[in-house]
């Protein structure tokens, strides 16, 4: 009873917030709705007993990715007239993408109806657990059977990260960096000295 109610609550909120992501005119509102959508997706995952994935979804997507989205979108100078002009220009492309997504959905649902793969039961019950918490189960799978794929994915991300840093990092000749160890080694004697000039005489700097 409670499970069914919770499922429909999360599902309806998820779809509604996903719709608002597209419909809201202000990009910042879109990102905030996206966060609500992530949350409800996490709620659904908790319901099917995948609490580890749910927490990762919140930590990675809500905690890091969406913050960066928001960071960028907040700084946008929004011109609504320009946005509307872009809408008409991009309309055919949008329709094409929508059709592709629809075809994928139909294909996926059709395949699911045909019952080719038996991953989980249709009533939402997850596949049989191994009698351990799903954090341990995922870890056991990732670090044994899928070890190579896991490491390869890690390598790929590392390469992408280094690439992004190389592409965007440039040394400006005129900027002066901070050398903390040099600052800490500096003593008052290095920069100051006591002078007692005679009257009428100056101090040579």
């Amino acid at each position: 009873m409670i499970q069914t109610l919770a499922f429909y609550l999360f599902a309806v909120l998820l779809i509604a917030s996903a719709v608002f992501v597209i419909l809201s005119r202000n990009p910042v509102h879109s990102v905030l709705w996206l966060i609500v959508a992530f949350f409800n997706a996490a709620g659904l995952m908790v319901l099917v007993g995948a609490e580890f994935i749910a927490m990762l979804l919140v930590i990675v997507y809500v905690g890091a990715v969406a913050v960066l989205f928001l960071f960028v979108v907040m700084m946008l100078d929004i011109d609504f007239a320009e946005l509307r002009a872009g809408f008409i220009k991009n309309f055919p492309l949008g329709i094409a993408i929508a059709l592709v997504l629809l075809a994928e959905l139909v294909l996926g649902l059709g395949a699911y109806q045909a019952g080719a793969l038996q991953l989980g039961a249709a009533d939402g019950a997850s596949a049989a657990a191994l009698g351990v918490s799903n954090t341990a189960a995922i870890g056991a799978l990732l670090y044994t059977r899928y070890l190579f794929l896991f490491e390869a994915a890690g390598m790929l991300l590392l390469v992408a990260m280094i690439g992004a840093i190389v592409l965007t990092h440039r040394q400006r000749g005129d900027s002066r960096g901070q050398n903390v160890s040099r600052q800490n080694q500096r003593r008052p004697g290095d920069a100051t000295r006591n002078e007692r000039p005679e009257v009428g005489k100056g101090v040579v700097l």
Binding site: M1, I2, N26, V28, H29, L32, I35, E51, F52, M55, L56, V58, I59, V62, G63, A64, V67, L68, L70, F71, M74, M75, S133, N134, T135, Q178, V180
Partner: protein, 348 residues
């Protein structure tokens, strides 16, 4: 509590669970609000003592009721929403901060098994919830439609992301040692961890992790010396500049509830939570929650002490500390800890 309700009242499991959870939430949230009021008073007193001032001493005996007087004043003020503000988000932002500050307390164990939600991924839950804290700040900064709050929001989002990374690695070290994400089990694993001492902090490999966790915790909660989001000498009051009355008070409450949570995490993850510091029978006669509260109080004193004595970091120094010092060191310790455990615990 659920089982007891079933026994006493003959309720079905669902009804008993519902009431037990509801009561549990009240049992945590209400004392927490009281604790926040008292801890604000304590903060001001400690700060005053270090500056050789008296601090609040007018309302009630020793000024104990100062926070309640402030709360009443703020409650009676008018809520002002700037005309250029994005109204919905402007009002929602402090609510988000406050709610998130309360949410994470659901998994903190107050005694053996005395925890509202005894979930397997407790520590991940804390990490997930604490990563949400930044949204209150960012939403406020953007919705205020004003320069200083906006700068503050930019700073906040960069600062939180930076320190969350090192906090994540520090927590990984703890989880590796405990072998579980469940906070209750993490506390139990710390019993006589090093000789007769309860707590990971006595472990030479984890002690540096605790020091970094304490400092990162200050940065994560935006406490001095990392309070760049509300640096009054640069940003007026940062993201709170446009707020007044109850919405401002919600920020205050949320901020201090977050600080208390960080103190509780320090106590739970490194100082043995509800265990006494030394594994010695008479100490167990004192109930666990008293030990936990004593430890929270101790850490809060450290937080206040730092606030009163350490000057504010410059922004680039803050980023340098997060990315160039804490990140590599914590990453190194993850390798060190897992290597040590690999050799001693798992053979090979």
């Amino acid at each position: 509590m659920t089982a007891r309700f079933q026994d006493w009242f003959g309720w079905s499991y669902e009804v008993a669970w519902g009431w037990a959870t509801f009561l549990g939430i009240l049992l945590i949230a209400l004392p927490l609000m009281l604790a926040v009021a008292m801890i604000i008073y304590a903060d001001r007193k400690i700060w005053a003592a270090m500056a050789l001032r008296r601090g609040p001493n007018v309302v009630g005996p020793f000024g104990l009721l100062q926070s309640f007087a402030d709360g009443l004043k703020v409650f009676l003020q008018e809520t002002i929403v700037p005309s250029a503000a994005n109204k919905g988000i402007f009002i929602m932002a402090p609510i988000v901060t406050f709610t998130v500050a309360l949410l994470a307390w659901a998994v903190i164990p107050f005694n053996s098994g005395a925890v509202l939600a005894d979930i397997n991924v407790g520590l991940l839950y804390v990490l997930a919830i604490s990563s949400l804290g930044v949204y209150g700040t960012v939403m406020a900064g953007w919705a205020s439609n004003s320069k200083y709050p906006f700068f503050s929001a930019m700073r906040a989002s960069a600062q939180m992301i930076s320190y969350e990374v090192s906090i994540g690695f520090i927590l990984i070290c703890v989880v590796l040692w405990a072998g579980t994400f469940n906070l209750n089990d993490i506390v139990k694993d710390q019993q006589s961890h090093v000789w007769i001492f309860n707590g990971y902090v006595f472990n030479p490999l984890l002690f540096p992790m605790w020091v970094m966790f304490l400092i990162s915790g200050m940065a994560e909660t935006g406490r001095a010396p990392f309070d760049l989001t509300e640096a009054e000498s640069e940003l007026v009051a940062g993201y709170q500049t446009e707020y007044s009355s109850m919405s401002f008070a919600l920020y205050w409450l949320g901020e201090y509830a977050n600080v208390l949570l960080m103190c509780a995490l320090n106590a739970t993850l490194f100082f043995g939570g509800w265990l006494p510091p030394v594994d010695w029978a008479p100490l167990y006669w004192i109930p666990g929650w008293i030990w936990l509260f004593a430890k929270i109080g101790f850490f809060f004193f450290i937080f206040s002490w730092v606030k009163a004595t350490v000057p504010r970091y410059r922004y680039d120094q803050l980023m340098r500390l997060g990315w160039k010092v804490f990140l590599p060191v914590s990453l190194g310790f993850v390798v060190l800890v897992s290597g040590y455990l690999m050799v001693t615990r798992y053979g090979a």
